[in-house]
Structures are given as structure tokens and as C-alpha cells.
Subunit: 329 residues, 2 copies
């Protein structure tokens, strides 16, 4: 199987590639023979890969790039490339260019390739396609997409294009609306959502973490490991039962910040949990207030997508995958 | 008030312009001083207009056209320009170019105009943004958009762009999802939906009409006069209560074809109704089977949009507006 990963240098992209290597180059029943990794910076080829790897840097929106990337007809395309919410909000033109136009360039290159070419295309969308007000009992699978950011708008448009290009037979699309990924590894960042990971990651690493919102804030989470599982399942699932509704809200866990902290306390003790410092930030509180709190991803669960059931599990995934299984001194 | 009408040569566009002339050039509390009519063919200027009219032909998608059209900063833009469902399905590229790219060109021209320019923009969407399966009790205002045609996809994307450009403060958008317009005046056409009007119009004009579907087919209708009312209301309403959800399903009437025929019989008698010939067409039956049957347009009704309450009213609108108030011999 020939695979193309767009946005391969990002956190989820890297973990996806590592997992395929760990699985001896298998995705479902297929053996990967060649994987092309593409991003704006050249992605690092994974160590010990049983398949051939080509790593390329470039801009998907530039003329001819999408055509070049699909020239060897990858059977599977995993499209993770995007600029994040904050950047798409700060730079309107860049957001539309990267998150909408590049996606359309890719879909058009596939359509125009002809010769019966019809790859499986896994498109990563986001719960940012949803915006307040929400139903009390959670966002159902048939709730409308009312994004409150340009990023969410661009993802919602991507979902519509994916469905239309699939319906017309140009590609075989699956759109997966990712929850907020938690615990993100790495350094603290300035994203409004950064604290959801920071209040777990920094205390586990012996550092103080700022909590800018109240403990009653509720949000929808899944681990990086779950996100990789979503991609692998979307890459291989039978798409016939999806009908024309090609995008699915992924399973996740609805917890409050207070519940996150209690889970941390249970996993790592009072001393670690005490490293969280409450420092309310009205700006962040306002942004986060418009976000999805709880989804009811019944279709995705029916189709076999799985995520963590408790926040302790999410914390243990971080400790296992990023800290070698133990909490540092 | 300076007004720009895009798609001014179409049936709804012409009727909108005629109504403004009849209303002595007033739209709500505003007096129209100048109206620019634009379409792919040069629109006919209305007779006896109390305001200045400029009629232009061109392609909105061509570079510079949108900029030229908004150069004199129209306060109201009524955007009706589109190719219809059947054509967008038959010609994929043309559909995206006309229905999506041209709309985006227009929005971008407005955004880039600067200087605090922020027109009211009335965008005509369609119930084609909805696709089966539907809720049993009708399509609610928070039901998701799952178009089953490229046309519906392009309209749904237009709605998302309208909301984002409005949220960012570039324009003041109102999207109106039109029901199927019935009774359309003029000659029979080949559109799959054509028979909904044809089975009323042709018999009233002494001609036979083909009914290609069963009498149990249910659909969502409003008259051309109601559509003009929607545009006028959308042009002047207070948009603050809309929040970020800028597009509204317009009111209409859910009736079966059998109920349409009964209404025709009540209005025009057995002899006229007998001119309908049942000739089932499985292709048309299949297309129409995916369409919206019933909506629950509660938000639009709350905000003051109004349509007919019975199909007899819809027939009488046609007789009044197109046949001079009487049924021909």
C-alpha cells in the first residue's frame, strides 16, 4: 500500500507514522510499501521503518504540488495539514489559503487524475465546527455545524467538499472530528486550549502550571493514542454504511477541569496536583466558553471508533507514551 | 440607498425589482436612489422606476468584476446569482466556479474594500442544503446541512462563508433558504422539480401537464410573491438577534402532490384538474425522493418572515400576478 501523509511533521502525524512502523508497516490488512511524508518543514523519517519513506517539505497550496504528491497514486491519503485555530483567526487570508484552498487543491488534483483513481482520504476535522449554543444533553450526530472561528468554518467547508467529492465518486472520504487532544506532549504553548494539557503535563514533570479558567469548565478530550487509533480505523473501515454523511464526531470524554485535577490527584498524588496555580484569565475564559462541552458520538461508536472512558486513562497514556511509564522525581 | 442585485435577470430577481418599483422605490424605511442590475445576460431595466438603474451583463467570477460592482459602495447587495441544481450536477466545474468561487470573489471584494464598508448582504440559499434522511416531524432550525447535490453543497458553503465574514465584521449577512418556488411562471422546463409548478400552471392555461411522481410525494413550497417578501424583509431586518447563525430556513407550506391537485380543483374546477396526466418517471421519482418534505422554520417566523398558509393561496397568487386575476377560457 502506498500512503501519503499531509501534515506529517505535526504531533498527531508523527505518532501515526510511528504507530504504523510499530505495527510492522501494516494498516489493517494492508502492508505499507511506501509512505510519503509532507509538511511545511521536512518531516523526520521514522527509525527502523519496514517500508520506503520519502520526506518532503513544501506548500500544498502552490500550483502543481498536489498533483506531484499524488503522481504515484497513493491508495491512502491522511490529510492532517492545517494551521491552528489561533493563527487562522489572527491571519484571515492565511487561514483560508492553508485550511481551505490547499484542501481543495488536493481534492481537485485527485478528481483530475482520472483513470479510475479513487483513494481513501482521511480528513481531520475538529469539534471546532461546533459553536454555542448547544443542546443540553450534548451535541448529537445530526446537530448543525455553527463554527465560531474561521478555523472551524474552514474545517466545516472541508467536510462539505469531502462529502460531495465522495458522492461524485472522485474519492472515498472519511472525515473525523477530533476532540481536543490531551495530554499533548512537549512544551507549554500559547494556544487558548493549551492549559487543558498543561495542568496535567507540567505538574507531572515537576513544574508549576497556570489554570486560567474555573474548575467548572467542561470540555471534550481524547488522548494522542486515541487520535492515532481514529486515523487507523478511518483508513481501513468499510465506508458503505456511512452513506453520504462522511464526517463523524469522534468519541471522547466530557470532563470538567475539576475532574481533570481530581484524576491527576488519584494518579500522581496531592503533591503533584498542588502544582496547579489558579490564575483566572477573562480572555481565555471567554474563548473557551464557546467551545463544545460534550458530544454524543453515536455514529462513530457504532462504526467502531474508540476513545478513553476515564481521565485517569488519558493521564496514564501520557505517562506510558511520553514519560517511559513513570512519574519523574 | 444604493442597491446591487446579482442574478437580476432571473425570475425572483425580476420580481424583486418590480416590487421595489411598485413600492415607489422604497425598501423598508429607505429610499432607493440607484440600483445596479447584474447578470450573465443584461437584465431589463424596470419601467417607470423612480430611481436610477444601471443594467450590466458579465461574469461575477472574472477578475475585477466584483470590485467594479461594489466600487460605488452599495449599502444593500441582493445575491441571487447561481446556476441551478441540474446544471451544477451536470457540469461539476461550472457549478463550483459560479456558485462557490463567484460568491467568494464577491465576499473578498467587500472585505478588501476597507474604509468601514459593511453592506447588508442577502444571500439566497436553498432547502437543497438538506438531504435525506430527515427527522419525521420536519427539519428543525438546528438540523445539520447534508446536501445530496453539488448545488446544495455550494449553497451550504456559501452559508458558512456568509456567517464567518459577518462574524469578522466584513459584511452584515442574512442567508435565506428558499423553499421550492411554486407556481413558477413561464414555459415548462426540464428541471426535475419543474412538475410541481407545471401541474398547476399548464392546466390553468388550458394545457396538459405531466405528473411524473406519485400523488403521495410531499414537498416544501412558497410562491414567488413570498420569495420577494423574504428578500425585502432580509434586506431591512435587525440582524443583531440572529447572533452568529446568519442563515434561516424560510417559511413555506408542506403539501403532497395530491393536496396540490385538490387545491387546483377547488380553485379552478374539475375540468382544469383533469388536464393532469399521470406518467410515472422512476428517474425523477428517485431525485425528488431525497428532497426536503417539511421544515419547521421557527426562527424565521420569530424574526418576521411570512409565507402562504394554504396551497389555494399559492395558486391565487399565480392567477393574480401572472394571469391578470382570471383563469383563461
Amino acid at each position: 500500500m502506498n500512503v501519503l501523509v499531509l501534515g506529517a511533521a505535526g504531533m498527531v502525524g508523527r505518532k501515526f507514522i510511528e504507530q504504523v512502523v510499530k505495527d510492522d508497516g501494516r494498516i489493517g490488512d494492508g502492508a505499507v510499501t511506501h509512505m510519503t511524508l509532507f509538511d511545511v518543514v521536512e518531516p523526520k523519517a521514522p527509525a527502523g521503518s519496514p517500508f520506503q519513506v520519502t520526506a518532503l517539505a513544501g506548500d500544498l497550496g502552490e500550483p502543481g504540488i498536489a498533483q506531484t504528491l499524488i503522481a504515484d497514486r497513493p491508495e491512502l491519503i491522511v490529510h492532517l495539514a492545517a494551521i491552528v485555530s489561533g493563527e487562522a483567526e489572527a491571519d484571515f487570508e492565511k487561514g483560508y489559503r492553508v485550511n481551505l484552498d490547499s484542501t481543495r487543491e488536493l481534492f481537485e488534483a485527485i478528481r483530475q487524475a482520472g483513470g479510475g483513481y479513487k483513494p481513501r482520504l482521511v480528513f481531520t476535522s475538529s469539534i471546532a465546527v461546533f459553536g454555542q449554543p448547544f443542546p443540553k444533553d450534548g451535541i448529537t450526530d445530526d446537530y448543525n455545524l455553527t463554527p465560531l472561528t474561521s478555523y472551524g468554518t474552514q474545517k466545516a467547508i472541508g467536510e462539505l467538499l469531502l462529502a460531495d467529492y465522495s458522492r461524485r465518486g472522485f474519492l472515498d472520504g472519511v472525515g473525523i472530528r477530533l476532540p481536543t487532544i490531551c495530554v499533548r506532549p512537549g512544551k507549554p504553548n500559547a494556544a487558548a486550549s493549551g492549559f487543558f494539557s498543561g495542568i496535567i503535563r507540567e505538574p507531572l514533570n515537576g513544574q508549576e502550571a497556570i489554570l486560567p479558567v474555573s474548575e467548572s469548565v467542561r470540555h471534550w478530550h481524547a488522548s494522542p493514542r486515541a487520535a492515532v487509533g481514529f486515523l487507523l480505523h478511518a483508513a481501513t473501515m468499510d465506508t458503505a454504511p456511512l452513506g453520504q454523511r462522511r464526517s463523524l464526531t469522534m468519541p471522547g470524554l466530557s470532563v470538567t477541569v475539576g475532574e481533570q485535577i481530581e484524576a491527576l490527584r488519584r494518579v500522581a498524588g496531592d503533591k503533584v496536583a498542588a502544582r496547579i496555580v489558579h490564575r483566572p484569565d477573562p480572555v481565555i475564559q471567554a474563548i473557551v466558553g464557546g467551545w463544545a462541552e460534550k458530544c454524543r458520538p453515536e455514529r462513530a461508536e457504532t462504526f467502531g471508533f474508540k476513545a478513553e472512558k476515564t481521565f485517569e486513562e488519558i493521564i496514564r497514556v501520557y505517562i506510558d507514551d511520553e514519560l517511559g511509564g513513570r512519574i519523574p522525581g
